[in-house]
Amino acid sequence: MENSCENIQEQIPEFVTGALPAEKADELQHHISQCKVCSEYLEALQADDKLLGEFAEAMQSRVVRLENNVIEALGLRPSDKTVQTIPIWRTIMKSRITKITAAAVIIIAVTIVVNRFGGSIDGSSVALGQIMENMKKMPWMVMVTKGPEGVVAEQWLCFDREYWIAKTADGTITSYDYAKREQYKYDPSSKTVTIDYLSQDIPYFISSPQAVLESLFEQVTEQATKPGTEITQEVGQYKGKKIKIHKMAFSANELNHRSQLFIDIQRNLLVRMLGSSTDSDGKVIIRGELEFEYPEKGPSNIYDLGVPKSATVVNNAPHEDVLEVVRQYRSCRENGPQQYIAIVTSGMQGTKIIYRNGDLLRTEFYFFRDINTWHEKRKRIESNFDSLWKWWTDNNNSQLTQVYLSDGKYGYYCYGLPDKIRSYRVDKRNPGHEALDTIGWPEISKYFTPERQANIIETDYSKENDLVCIELVFPGKIDTESKVTLPQKWVYYLDPEIDYICVREKYYRQRDIAWEDKDDSWLDGIDPNKIPPDKLPQIKEVIEVEETKAGQWYPKRIARYADDGTPREEKRMIIPTVYLQTDPPFPDGIFDPGSLPKK
């Protein structure tokens, strides 16, 4: 048996990457189902794989920084306006669903067409936008990507149900249920279905069925503005339907590009996209095709798309009770006030002001020139939005140091104000989302991962106040240098009676929260200098709620303080507080990127 285990463990690394031939994989799985040692080894290697993937993803920001530095150094772009447009193929290649779009290169050729038509060339941008809107109204849309060797991937999109499901040529099937926040992935090599919580933290182009489609249409390729483009339109037949074909040809980078869009005239829907690039000898360099269909019905789950019922299921998602509460909470969170001004006093350094109007968001950071004056003043200002706002709009003796503005599509950051202004722009943000945490709607589900357990619990506080309580625990760790990260815990108290507002959030970083034995003996023998001190629990508490005219509850005033046993009311220090006003009159031009501070 030992010998056999040794053999099996030799093969596990290949199995983890899906490189093990099918028959060997079957043998291996058979063995693993009966052998605890090997099964644990497999789990460990799978965890390593995940860890390395996360690490690479975390390092991505450094790679982007590196790219920007190089681009800047080469003088390709002015330094104060680094536009971070990520070509679609690159984004796709880096995503978790890489294989879907193994033919992503092909999409470039195809999207060029879209951009040309979306531009001013034939003035048909409105027409194209209309086609996209029509596509969104269909019950289902299927997008089949074909490369030179046949079908590469099929993607099904259901806009109504907020569902996306895709199958790649290698048999991998992935589904995203945006409403339920569930992600299913079937790996054909290990015949395993993994269920995970679908994080909000995913790339824009896959963040909703609408975004998938819009990204396809929107992608801006710089090549598209090359001169000498020929555009023709003709009418033809495709699959028995009358169609209009937009043809475009242009040369760039010593290649001849040809692209075609097939539009179903009767339904005004895109049915096919073709793209090809040939070199000067007429040799085809890239050729690709996307076919679109609009069926009445689609797969309800991954099994409908061919996942065998016998596949092993690994469920990493939190318990259904937790998910149900989070669903309710999220729905209230996302449908909360869309128009507001929030004043966030941090007490010590300065103040942040958030303006939000739907997709538009502006955040300003002010530093006090004279903190003592503020503290003195503060005692005389009533603790409500109106008084603070009045003081704010009068002379407040503070300096604006940073502004962030999002116009719904781009985010503009300006910092180093007033003298050393630096600014940059980034693509695609979800602005409202960023501000929600500040105004009393923490993103509870952001950290739902298998190693971080989320549970519904009962505490004295939750029982006394009829609240639902979610506890999220991060275990403590000791690294190779014996440095200790203490266990951390978040406890969220939600009030179902007022739209699940998180009325209290308590954060702990203490040695005895979560370790195997729930005590701190795990720290025995560790150099005390390497153990960080326990931190007083930090509390964020909603101290005033209000209801909008539409009947939605929202936190109106939120305070933050450390829990040292003193009741909040008795604390002498000024407590950092958030004051919110819904449906306010906004200052003129506040959301206009043109009004941002300039050098």
Partner: protein, 173 residues
């Protein structure tokens, strides 16, 4: 990356097409970073050398001969610069003693993993980094290390096993 597209991009870079430069930087930054991280084992050094590599590669792009693959060329620059750097580092004993990769001014994330990666052999670390930073295929490993894909797969497997052992014995994950 598709080698035809790569040729096309390199060709337009030689003709000083600015957008093509940008595309090349973005297409190869991952691989270049992986090579540097693999050879140097330290994120900060890797960033520095990767930046130098891309700058050197793009400012000297006219040296790329027709049909020569840009990927292979830029990988070679990265390797050379890393070797130079290691040589310089070896001269400075004080820096050498600073066990690469761990802590320092790095962010506090992934401490066990970073420590284990620093202890892996260069060969193994390089295979892992290329796999995770450049498209999750053994192709990138094979191309960069100029070995067959089978050999690349074998190397990757050995690297995984070794890493597991390190993570286990170091009291990590």
């Amino acid at each position: 990356m598709n080698s035809d597209l790569e040729k096309e991009l390199a060709a337009s870079c030689r003709n000083a097409d600015r957008s093509a430069y940008t595309d090349l930087v973005k297409a190869y930054s991952g691989r270049v970073f992986a090579i540097c991280m693999g050879m140097l084992g330290n994120i900060h050094d890797a960033e520095d050398i990767a930046q130098q590599t891309l700058l050197k590669g793009l400012t000297n792009i006219k040296q790329v001969r027709d049909n020569e693959q840009f990927g292979a060329w830029i990988s070679q620059i990265a390797k050379n610069l890393c070797i130079d750097f290691i040589r310089r580092r070896k001269c400075k004993q004080s820096i050498l003693r600073r066990r690469v990769g761990v802590g320092q001014s790095d962010s506090k994330e992934y401490p066990e993993l970073k420590s284990a990666l620093a202890k892996l052999s260069e060969e193994h670390r390089l295979a892992l980094m290329l796999y995770y930073f450049d498209g999750r295929s053994t192709k990138a490993i094979a191309e960069t290390l100029e070995i067959s894909e089978t050999a690349a797969q074998a190397r990757l497997s050995r690297a995984r096993k070794r890493l597991r052992k390190l993570l286990e014995t170091e009291g990590g994950a």
